[in-house]
């Protein structure tokens, strides 16, 4: 059901005038936030919770994949099931697996490929931004994040859905 709502026709106002994601999505969207930096993770979690999101955090790409059910030992166990999350927001620069690599893995999954992925970075590098957008990232956001960035994210997701 969660998978369908993201993709299908959602009757209702798309004016983006509501501050609350609950009104736009009809329930609390579940967001997976991935960042190796504790302070950044704390901040993004707070920003999302202030917008009525349910938030799960992960400190690296591997943990994120495990949560999503795409862990290395799970192979294709996800076939036929639905996504746990409505949105993934991830930092680009992470040790081990970068946000870009995480994005690719999500887009390669038949079940998860429709889940919007947003990339965050402290560096404004056009080639990096283009690379992510070409790989299917919904949006690229510059850090440090503030409340207005999350509002912009919401408006962007609403346009994408309709």
């Amino acid at each position: 059901m969660l998978y369908q709502i993201m993709d299908g026709d959602y009757g209702g106002s798309c004016g983006g005038c509501s501050e609350d994601m609950t009104v736009e999505f009809g329930y609390e969207p579940h967001v997976l936030a991935v960042d190796d930096n504790l302070i950044d993770r704390t901040l993004v979690e707070k920003l999302l919770k202030n917008s009525s999101c349910k938030v799960t955090t992960a400190e690296n790409g591997l943990r994120a994949l495990e949560f999503l059910g795409l862990g290395s030992d799970e192979r294709n166990s996800l076939e036929g099931t639905v996504s746990k999350v409505n949105l993934v927001i991830t930092d680009y620069c992470m040790p081990g697996m970068t946000g870009y690599e995480l994005l690719k893995k999500i887009k390669e999954s038949s079940v998860l490929k429709e889940v919007p992925v947003v990339i965050m970075s402290s560096e404004n590098i056009p080639t990096r931004i283009n690379q992510c957008l070409e790989e299917g990232a919904q949006m690229f956001m510059l850090k440090p994040l503030k409340q207005s960035d999350v509002k912009q994210l919401k408006r962007h997701l609403m346009k994408y859905r309709s």
Partner: protein, 185 residues
Amino acid sequence: MDFVNQLQRKFIDYSSSLHREGIVDDQFTQLRKLEDENSPHFVMEVASLFFEDCEKLINNMAIALEQKQGVDFKQIEECIHQLKGSSSSIGAMRVKNACIAFRSFSGAQNREGCLRCLQQLSHEYSLLKNKLQTLFRVSVASRCLYVCLVIFCRGNEHAEPFPDVLVFQLEKQIVAAGGSIPRVH
């Protein structure tokens, strides 16, 4: 109430000076906007996490720069990257700028330059920590004092009545800050 107003004035002035001196920037203001009744101490909590993180990273860099057999500049760059990110996210402008300067010396693998930068970074961090802790103390003190006065007024039939909802909220805050509510008969 005049004393409370003075204390609140002090808080505003002190907070403004932090911005004027470049200790904090607009991102810090953004963080304060995120506080609400559910998380009245969000900024203090994030600042505490930052202090811990910063101390650990400064320590790791000091150790790395001591290594006689050769400095691992890659490790230092990684530490700087982390610290630049965190300081930027909480609005600690001078710490962030110290990281940027540090990064160029580390990139050039200049040990002497790095040692100077580390010293500068430690200095900026100490300054930030002292100032923020003072700010938090003034903030908590004024809130506690305000609640005490409110409760006193409630018990004093000659004072102006306070809306009960406001008193309840303020009482919750004081308890959340680790205090207790004096019973007024």
